[in-house]
Each structure stands twice: as C-alpha cells, then as structure tokens.
Amino acid sequence: MATVEFKGNNFEVDEDGFLQRFEDWNPDWVEFVMESEGIKEMTDEHQKVLDFLQDYYKKNGIAPMVRILSKVTGYKLKHIYELFPSGPGKGACKMAGLPKPTGCV
C-alpha cells in the first residue's frame, strides 16, 4: 500500500486512491483528491453530499444506495454526476473517505 503526503498529512491509500482508514480522513484529503476527480472547487452542494455520505456510513456501516443519496440530498443522479464527474462511488465516496465499492462493479 502506498502512502501519499499532502499538507503534512500522511494518507495511506490503495491502488485506486481510496483511503485505507476512514479515521484518517480530514478536510485536507478532499483538497488532495479534488483534482484527480475532475473537481475545480468545492461548493456547498459538494459538501452536502460528502457530509451525508459520512453521516450515513458512521450510522449504518455502509454507503447509502444511490436512491437514498438522491432522496436525502435532493440531488438527482444527473446532478450528482455534474458535481462528481466520476459518479457517486468512485468520486463522492472516495472524497468522503468511505471504503472502496465492492461487488461486480
């Protein structure tokens, strides 16, 4: 596993750039991932998605289904893709520090 250094943080990541430990997450991580996920600047809408993903993960131990993410944030899937061009899994979950999506993806 590789370790990346950014603004004095050491983030342990896997080959796809997902955080290895949710506890390692801090706002610097978002800033570090932004560019590789094709995001110019963080808006309140970005933040709302990330906050919800983290709350849901802390509460339930899983990432929410796309429909739940949509319903709670009020953002249609199309808008989520506008915010996070790689999509809710590869983009938003990675930035929120959640584990990498699994299954037949």
């Binding site: 896997d14 290895q20 430990r21 949710f22 094709g38 993960y57 339930n60 131990g61 899983i62 990432a63 061009p85 584990p99 990498k100 699994t102 299954g103 037949c104």
Partner: protein
Amino acid sequence: MAFISSGYDPKQPMKNRITDIGPKHYEQFLPPVIKKNYGKWLYHEILEPGILMHKAESGDEVYTIRVGSPRLMGIQTIREMCEIADKHCGGHLRWTTRNNVEFMVDSKDKVAPLKEDLLSRKHTGGSYKFPIGGTGAGMTNIIHTQGWVHCHTAATDASGTVKAVMDDLFEEFTQMRLPAQLRVSMACCVNMCGAVHCSDIGFVGYHRKPPIIDHNVLDQICEVPLAVSACPTAAIRPTKVDMPDGTKVNSVAIKQERCMFCGNCYTMCPALPLSDGAGGDGLIIMVGGKVSNRISNPKFSKVVVDFVPNEPPRWPTLVKKVRQIVDAYSKGAHKYERLGEWAERIGWERFFEVCDLEFTWHLIDDFRDPAYETWRQTTNFKF
C-alpha cells in the same frame, strides 16, 4: 514508453467530452448481400459442418463459414481475421453469440478458396487458427469466463480448462454426429457468469474451504453489513475481536459448519479471501440444461460430479469426465434429444450408471424449501 497524449486534457476533463453515443448501428457493417435481403430469407441449409447457405426470396444466396475462436485473442489475430475478410468477403465478418467467427461470401465458388485458406493457417505450436465447424448437431464453442487471466474470485482457470476440453472434443466441433447440439459452458466461480446454469454440460470453479478473515483490516476496507447480507446461509455475523496488541476491532465471525464456500462475502469484502490452490479449489460438473423451447421447456443444468481437482495445465480428470458424459449421451440419446431430455427420459439413476459417474451425498439438494421438490416422491424408479 514516453507518454503520448490522445488530445485529452487532464486539466479540463469535461472539455470536448463525448458521451452516451452508444454502439454503432449494425447496419453500417452488413455485407451488401445481407443488407439487400434483410428480413427476406426463405430457408437455409447446412452444406457441411461449419458451412451454411441461406436462400433469399430474390434468389440470392449467402454462404457462411463458421470458425472456432479462443475468445481471448490478441490484436494480431483480429488483424489476421480482417485480412481474411478483406481477401475473401469484401471486408465483412461477424462474431456469434458463442464467440465463433463467421465469414460470409455471396457465391458458392468463393467458398472453397476461403475454406482452404482458413484451414491452412496454424499457430507455430501446431493448433488450427481457424478450425471450421460448430454447426448443427455437434459441439460448438465453449462459453467461458475470465479465470486466472483477470478475475479475483476465480476458483479455477477458464481459458486453460476450455482449451483442454475443446482439444479432447475437437471432432465433435468439426462434425455433426451427435443426437442434438451440445452446448458446453464454463464459469470459474459460482457467480456463473455466462451460461453454465443452462447448458448441456457446464463446469464451474468451486471452493471447499471457508474464507480466511483478515481482522486487521476488515472494518477498514469492508462495509460489514454488506458482507453479512451477502451470505446465502447466514453463516456470517458481525462481532468484535480482541487483537493481539490489546485493541478491539469490529469484524465478522463465520460459522464454519454453515459455510458452503460460495465466496459471495469475498466479492463484497476484500478481507475475506478463500481461494485455495493446494487441494481446496477445483470444479464441479453440471449437465442437462438448455435455453431453447424446442419440444421441452428450458431447463437448468444439474450437478452430477461433486468435485474434480484443479490439474493445470491440462485438467485430465475434468476432460475424462466430460468425455464419459458425451460418449454415453451420443450412444444413448434419440435423434433431436438434448442431453437433459435424454437424462430425464432414461431417469437420473440410469444416467449415472451409463455415464459411469459416482453419486455422492453432495448431489442431493439441501438448499432451503425447494430442495424437497428435487427428492423422489414416487415409487417409480429403476434398480
């Protein structure tokens, strides 16, 4: 190698981005004779194994030569096919749903030179590059999966087993002497990508040991509830584990006697690997499935060999068992009778006898209520 840009600008990933254009329309690639007679075919004939003729209302004929392919192929093989298509077929060719390749010509005199050309091409190791066959009541290509070439949940290899079995059954590919067509499929784990669950003969990669639990990282890289709900027998439950260094971590516990080694939990959670090369993993053989509605309804295939070991690179036990089944079927079945129809007509107890296969307790269904339906609620049986 030095980086060569395609014109994509990583600083502006969404600029000039083309999406949602879908595949090209198939009509762009139709040979002229197909395009002209589209939807106006009268009848067809199989002239010889691997060669078909379709007659159109207009009197046009199209001759199709079907050749086997390994499915997994390099760009140079595809280029060679393109070269053949350029030379004989006006640059047109097609792939079938079983990954054979078909070359089409519009007159009979073009068939012989194409056939001769195809059969003259061999790999340096000696195997045919483009063996002709796969039509009628014979055996055609084996639908298969990724195996050790690319997949992380495989319990066996796909390309290797398929090559070994196809080598053994090669005559059935180039001839049409079976009672009906024989569909063979393979999948490298019980996810069953492809068609093993509905093929005349299917072989499936199978584990025989429960997963190893990597407590150190499980909670970090897995969503525990997903691993719990991935289990068809509810063998997994969440738990806290004391680590040697005194810390307590969230993890899962697996009830070993409830685990049947499907590997679903590993699909969902990378901290539960279960593949085991040395004596653990192998294959099971299933028979009797079909998808067509011809005469009898579609059927699922049924497990008839509980385990054959992984024996790379040629899997001799697997090849031998498949051969036993094919031989008994071709000897015993009536014309037009698919393998499943034959086994059901003579009775499964007779099937095991004529195929010389061992019936073990593993073959008796024990999965939930529907298992009951598979037992025998009648006195009708043969000694």
